[in-house]
Amino acid sequence: MNASSSEILTQGLTVKLEADLDKNFGETIAREAHGEKLFGCIQCGNCSAACPLSVWMDYTPRKVIAMVRAGFKQEVLSNRTVWLCASCYQCTVECPKGIKITDVMYALKREAIENKIYPKNFPVPILARTFYSEVKRTGRINEIFLLTNYYLRYNIFKMLGYASLGVRLFMKRRLSLFEKGMTNRKEFRSMLNQ
């Protein structure tokens, strides 16, 4: 089989061809994040240094912004970096250009969910989606149901590590199966279905 020149040249991880970029990605995300001025970013890196989680990220937040506006859609959305954002807003309050980076991260998470290209079997989006359907079902969060469902979807064996903590909390009545919930769940659900 003949390898094309482009295949040969892109075998390394350091090359990206313009044709493989999604040129509208930056604008889509900026719009999704309520007109954030992504293109005003001066790449100063304050966000990365302020972020308490950047040490565990594959890309620093600054790099994420650079990649988003350059159109590296696949790389950004399939990576776990955005899911490590804990929404602490430290970057947002420090950004000298007033970019609400946390909201940009939210927009990226939503875009990933919508495009179904978030990292597979990665716990954070699974918890988010479990939480989402739990609230939709009952209107409030019951931590027992939330966590049980989450571990069922993610990895039931991991739940074992939390069993003793769960039991202790249960004994202290900080977890309960019978917490009073909403009375008109149907109406609440229908609101979300509009």
Partner: protein, 285 residues
């Protein structure tokens, strides 16, 4: 003046002792609260990650209930709920498209939100409205010689700093001082506790909590006080695990600021939810 009260899911379960102690303290101070009828979850960070419209709608529903129920101010003690409420309020205030769409949906349930209800955190109420002096006057057992590290976490003051200094928050320190204790100055008072990451990326979550516990201890604190159920849960419930895993004893009492106040104000431990704590809790002699 009647205050509306939105507890949120945590204060009904893992953060039960926050609710118990908060209500006890407010009662002692003569502040009446009325729980929102049929409130729903605020959606926390998860709804924002999945669907922004839904996130705003479900929070606006609570605000709509508050307006319907009457009353000018709603007390929101959970930091995540508090921030979510503020965020929804700001979006509905500044973007007419969002305001109209959300209200259209609320209308189906006979609700609407017009920005009338003010969103307040108990710290705001206690420190900025009642004032430290008034709190001091209620103290029966001053917490003399107690060194307190106030831990504010993230969403109480970020991105919106409505009642405290974003860069150097002080309201909990003010309360500690009013209770006769000595606040500890430390640099991690608003560093993130990792939120729900203790259940998802456990390793990262535990490490993030470790640095906070470690620093508070090394600055000589006897107790950490918080105002967020997730912060309190993480710092309290995982400290044993953290100490074992990272082979460093970082155990330290982690309480809600309302529990600390209750102790100083002479409220019996039973009414402060102290029995519901896992970590060594602070009982005064």
């Amino acid at each position: 003046m009647k205050y509306l009260y939105y507890p949120g899911c945590s204060l009904k379960s893992s953060g039960k002792h926050y609710e118990i102690s908060l209500l006890a303290v407010l009662q002692k101070l003569g502040i009446e609260v009325e729980e929102l009828e049929n409130w729903n979850c605020c959606g926390a960070t998860n709804y924002m990650s999945i669907n922004e419209n839904y996130a705003l709608e479900i929070t606006a529903r609570n605000l709509g209930i508050a307006e319907k129920q009457g009353g000018d101010e709603v007390i929101v003690p959970c930091a995540a709920c508090f921030m979510g409420f503020l965020k929804t309020q700001k979006y509905m205030e500044s973007e007419s498209g969002i305001r109209d769409r959300v209200n259209q949906i609320l209308n189906h349930s006979g609700l609407s939100y017009n920005g009338k209800v003010q969103i307040r955190h108990p710290l705001d109420l206690l420190v900025n409205q009642l004032g430290a002096d008034a709190l001091t006057r209620t103290v029966e057992m001053p917490l003399k010689d107690l060194k307190v590290a106030s831990y504010y976490g993230c969403q109480l003051i970020r991105p919106y700093a409505t009642f405290d200094d974003q860069w150097n928050p002080h309201t909990m320190d003010d309360i500690a001082r009013a209770m006769g204790a000595t606040p500890v100055d430390w640099p991690l008072k608003s560093r993130c506790c990792s939120g729900s990451m203790t259940s998802t990326m456990t390793d990262i979550g535990l490490r993030m909590n470790y640095v906070i516990l470690k620093e508070a201890k090394s600055r000589g604190a006897d107790v950490i006080i918080t105002a967020c159920p997730l912060c309190q849960f993480n710092l309290e419930c995982f400290q044993g695990k953290i100490s074992r895993k990272l082979k460093d004893d970082v155990r330290i009492p982690v309480m809600y600021f309302t529990q600390l106040m209750g102790l100083a104000m002479g409220i019996p431990a039973k009414k402060l939810g102290l029995k519901q704590m896992l970590s060594p809790s602070l009982v005064l002699n």
